[in-house]
Amino acid sequence: MKLHENTAVVLSQLLAKKEVSAIEVTQSFLNRIGDLDPLLKAFVTLTPEFALKTAAEVDQKRINGKRLHPLAGVPIAIKDNICTEGIKTTCASRILSNYHPPFDATVVSSLKAIGMPLLGKTNMDEFAMGSSTENSAFFTSRNPWDPERVPGGSSGGSAVAVAAGMAPLALGSDTGGSVRQPASFCGLIGLRPTYGRVSRYGLIAFASSLDQIGPLALTAEDAALLLGAIAGYDRLDSTSLPEDVPDYSKELGAGIKGIRIGLIGENVDQQFDPEVNAAVKRKLTMLEQHGAVTGEVSLPLTDYGLGAYYLIAPSEASSNLGRYDGVRYGYKAESRHLEEMFSNTRGEGFGAEVKRRIMIGTYALSAGYYDAYYLKAMQVRTMIRRNYEKAFQSFDLILGAATPTPAFKIGEKSDDPLQMYLSDVCNINDALAGIPSISVPAGLHSSGLPMGMQISAPPSGEKLLLAAAHFLDGQKRGVPQRPQLEIGEGGSK
């Protein structure tokens, strides 16, 4: 087995036993990137020197007998909307295409402190707005299971990196499904933590009340390790939860006996791919056979989530993205006077989807529409939260599809924003409610593409989510877990 084919947990063990060095591990992933990234285009920026430097430091510390975090020396890829000091952070936008943050996001500081080599910054939909990476100002990332298809988004680059073995772990961000949807499309574990569980400091805002950073990983064990590394209270983030971080890796094998799991009735009824619905049902049956108590749960407002989300997120975005005005950083258009500079800078610097959302948000917040749109959406958000609270009185976990279909083709939906928005329909309500939610592989579609299932828990229920996901990891038999990639085509397919 090649080094880059290992999970983070296995790499961690190999490193701890000094069977391999962090340099070797890092180099192996850098080589893999060299082979595959020209084809798959997961990375916007590569940082090999920085990665190797970190790896060398970790190796030295290990030789010196220093106590190290299990993830020390395990490389990672980071979505390009998470600030890295001195390393270009672009949000895959023209407007930030040459932006060098003078500070690290809190999660990046944590990873640096642990000694995780940073392989590079991954591609995404511009400002995390999208579900395919087709909204990247630079290029579209390719799904390693089928390079003609999208990897999902917005954290598509991160998903591609992990699925293709170019990174054992990656960070994404999830505003309305941007970790879970690409995880589903790429056959990975993708976790959206409870809102406030992971610091947002240094995560370039899309919709502040929804944004959360989350791990993308091959296994629940890996995701648990990474979550443990980034979770926790941060005094720089006022919306950070002042709660202790449990050891997510401990008791992962507790099993699912007696756990009450509810299948969302509304999801299954929708126009989902029947194979997806069947796969989810199979998993539910499997859980039942191993002692889970299952049933159907009703979340009657599921259909309204999309409407509320597409008012709240763009409204916040319209405000969050006001700062890109050509004064302090970023792209600046030539102009004769101030207002023209603002309008041209933003008109030329933002892509179509970002402009669309700014327009919706500005409209929804403007005088005369606030009550009917924004305020109403926030009220619906309350009702959706109550829906969940009620559901969690009867169930410990809620289960449904992670995406209505497997990955779609590049270009298939890029001209139809509404169809694109609908691909996040399974992921939006959890985000509105602020509850943790995980996307886990649910087997392969007849097309050979992975399908995903989503499990949600009450606030701070990550441990239970990971235990359930870990159980399912252990039940996989005879299903290919990784895409079969032919290498050596020179990156042009």
Partner: protein, 98 residues
């Protein structure tokens, strides 16, 4: 599409300081209308008396102590400045009149 809505789109794009080219404006207006279509679905719900959720965290704000911490070095502050003039950021003339 109605003239009124196009006018509104123009107004909003001005509010957002977002220059849209003429063809772009038509397209955005159309898309905006269909997106507002799904957004309008929530109007079906009776939300009388429902508190709006602006934060999902039911906690009060945290306060930090009034302690001065070091600022960024000026060169870091101006590192990404598109137009720097000495230690200032420079912007073009504020008024449109020539």
């Amino acid at each position: 599409m109605s003239e009124d809505f196009l006018k509104e789109v123009e107004h909003v794009s001005r509010l957002a300081r977002l220059n849209l080219k003429p063809d772009e404006k038509e397209k955005v207006a159309g898309q905006l209308q269909s997106i507002l279509g799904i957004a309008k679905k929530i109007q079906e719900l009776d939300t009388t008396g429902v508190e709006p959720t602006s934060h999902v965290i039911n906690l009060p704000a945290i306060l930090r102590e009034d302690v001065v911490r070091s600022s960024l070095p000026v060169d870091q502050v101006l590192l990404n400045a598109p137009k720097r003039n000495k230690n200032y950021f420079q912007v073009p003339r504020i008024t449109a009149v020539e």
